[in-house]
Symmetry: C2
Subunit: 407 residues, 2 copies
């Protein structure tokens, strides 16, 4: 009887502590988010700092503290999953970017953006893949199949739309912002098409019909994703206007806008389309139509609520990346063969730099040919900024890499 | 080689489909939420319907459809966990209730609310426990220990604060609303204290020192939870006022308010306090102090964003409850011994009715003795409404029951 009871107590205690551990880490994470906001605000005047860098540094420091207190077994408090990122954090960021983007500037440069996002990504992909084949074969790092080289190209051709938002300011440099961010959004669609194509097509003998299929599937994905976003946006505008939702309550309008936008993203994922592209266009349509059909207080609420959601999601990501930088497991492989790791990283970095330069400069030249007024043309300084601002490789690359490892 | 490849393909396909299944259910759930809002809006004029009932009915219908399409194996699309409820859905609902509550009305009736929430819950607990001991012993339903009977009392003495919000309207019946909802919030603290006391104290021989300990731990829990909520609210007001957050951006103010409120709830859970009580008082303090220190657009945003969050969380819960009503597994035990199940349910229902009547009527009488003006007194009709409105047993009871089963 006594043993039974103590057994029972033990079980309930262990249950409690496992629940409690997740409560502890939630507390720590929310407290760190608060700290990032306050410190980021205090450092506002400093031109080298912003919330994201603060979050990165705080994450790094927390990682060190956790590493020391757990005797070097782990540096994070939360298990970060792809799902968490793609289902909860990414949609509000991209939706808000579409919602707040300067539409006039964006659509005026639409052709250039498409050129950069579609053709540019392809050029980048070809150069990185070819470079990887050329250099890695001499380095003796195990045998890789042709599909693996192409996957490397696709992974490193995917830029990070979230980081881009941090580098450029929409109000100060509207042209550059719309070009680089727009490219990032279209790039996502291209990367997904590329990656799926690599996994499903037989790539050992590429011929015309496969190339045509490839182009066709890009256009299908691009048009279908865009249409889905536009339809979701228009539908929300129609429902809110027709049913005169604001008559009874503001909350219903706001809730419906958020849910419809989220639904468009999830539907895109359901049909294997590009959710980023869909929710981006949904944001554009909602800010252009739905937003003008809601009550005044809904307008203020949606504008700030979406921005806040996106803001918190961004800080969350950077905080996590800071903690993740110290992950012992990930550094172990580097310790085993430091020379090779540095070599591979350097080659990939060089290829990414080269691959981006190889399309920004010629495509800017092409785009400039179509523009008449000189202030619409992309100058050399701006071309260099575009080249530099889009260099970051972020969450989409990471997710594609995980996918490749799992297969 | 060919086998390896097909193996690989199979694995990646099964991976994909398991991921895809969760995407499908997310889509269905978000679409149903949208449908609830639109249909709830269309039925606004109907006095028998509101969003919650719509959500319940839609959930029920969806459950039937899923039950038929899966050949009767399952009726939900999402696995509902205690965590989902207590970590994500409950905090925004209770926080918003505190944020929007009419403070004057609430604090004027503070003593009555405390009387109902603390003493009333105790009376209810004693009656239900004693009744369970008396009736269940004659019914031959297996041997239960004294601790089990007390746990039954504690579980069924916990009312549901969320359901209460649906029954009464703050604008139409402010006195009743503040009494019943306030009681629900204090009731949560009492239930948690009761339940923890049952699990940790030796209850076979109750004496004065245990009773004193019990009263002491109630006051500790009540005061500590309230203080935590008040401190979190004041701290947010202080930070936002001192640092003049609104100068740079509205988003930071809104983000900080949400995060601080959430942090107060999680801290309460961390220290085994009553999170509901904490976040409720945090909401009251934030609406009284913080809200007046933020910019005009933050005021509009927070007011509507919190209401929207709470609104969506409530619909979510009712939608799920509708689906859950058809859970085959839960009905199986009823089919095995229908007579006994109906008997136990009827006895418990009777005890809950009796236990509530046994404190609402005498405590209202006591409370009326202290009031001078006749319109502040609680009339018999109002007493009956209080008795009726607080009868619902909801998520807190369910969570406590799960806890008891797991131990």
């Amino acid at each position: 009887m006594a043993i039974e009871l103590s057994n029972l107590m033990e079980r309930s205690l262990s249950m409690l502590s496992s629940d409690h551990k997740s409560v502890v880490s939630m507390n720590l994470f929310v407290a760190l988010l608060c700290a990032c906001i306050v410190i980021g605000h205090l450092l506002e005047e400093n031109r080298w700092m912003n919330e994201s860098i603060t979050a990165l540094i705080i994450g790094l420091c927390t990682g060190i503290v956790i590493l020391l207190t757990t005797n070097g077994t782990s540096s994070h408090v939360l298990m970060f999953s792809e799902d968490l990122f793609f289902i909860y954090l990414l949609p509000p960021i991209i939706f808000n970017a579409g919602f707040q983007v300067k539409k006039k500037q964006f659509f005026r440069n639409f052709m250039t953006i498409m050129l950069f996002g579609a053709v540019g990504t392809l050029i980048s992909f070809v150069i990185i893949s070819a470079g990887a084949v050329h250099f890695f074969k001499q380095m003796n790092i195990g045998t890789l199949k042709i599909g693996d080289y192409l996957a490397i190209g696709a992974i490193f051709a995917a830029t990070d739309s979230v980081c881009t938002l941090q580098v450029l300011n929409q109000d100060e440099t509207p042209l550059l912002y719309s070009l680089v961010f727009g490219e990032g959004v279209v790039n996502d669609a291209t990367s997904v098409v590329l990656f799926n194509a690599i996994q499903s097509f037989d790539l050992s003998h590429i011929n015309l019909s496969i190339a045509l299929k490839f182009v066709g599937s890009f256009f299908y994905l691009f048009i279908a994703s865009t249409m889905l976003g536009v339809i979701a946006g228009l539908l929300s505008a129609f429902i809110i206007k027709k049913l005169y939702m604001g008559r009874h309550s503001t909350d219903r309008e706001v809730a419906l806008m958020i849910l419809m936008a989220y639904l468009s993203y999830m539907l895109a994922e359901l049909f294997y389309l590009s959710g980023i592209l869909t929710v981006f266009f949904c944001g554009i349509v909602m800010s252009h139509y739905t937003w003008h059909n809601v009550t005044e207080s809904s307008r203020v609420t949606t504008k700030h609520a979406f921005a806040t959601l996106s803001f918190v999601a961004e800080i969350f990501i950077f905080l996590y990346v800071g903690m993740d930088a110290l992950d012992i497991e990930k550094w172990r492989v580097v310790r085993d063969s430091p020379g090779k790791s540095v070599g591979v990283s350097a080659i990939l970095l060089g290829l990414v730099l080269l691959g981006r330069a190889a399309f920004v400069l010629p495509l800017s030249f092409l785009s400039n040919l179509t523009k008449k007024s000189s202030h619409e043309k992309i100058g050399l300084k701006q071309q260099l900024t575009i080249w530099w601002a889009g260099l970051m490789r972020g969450a989409v690359s990471m997710a594609l890499a995980y996918k490749q490892v799992r297969c």
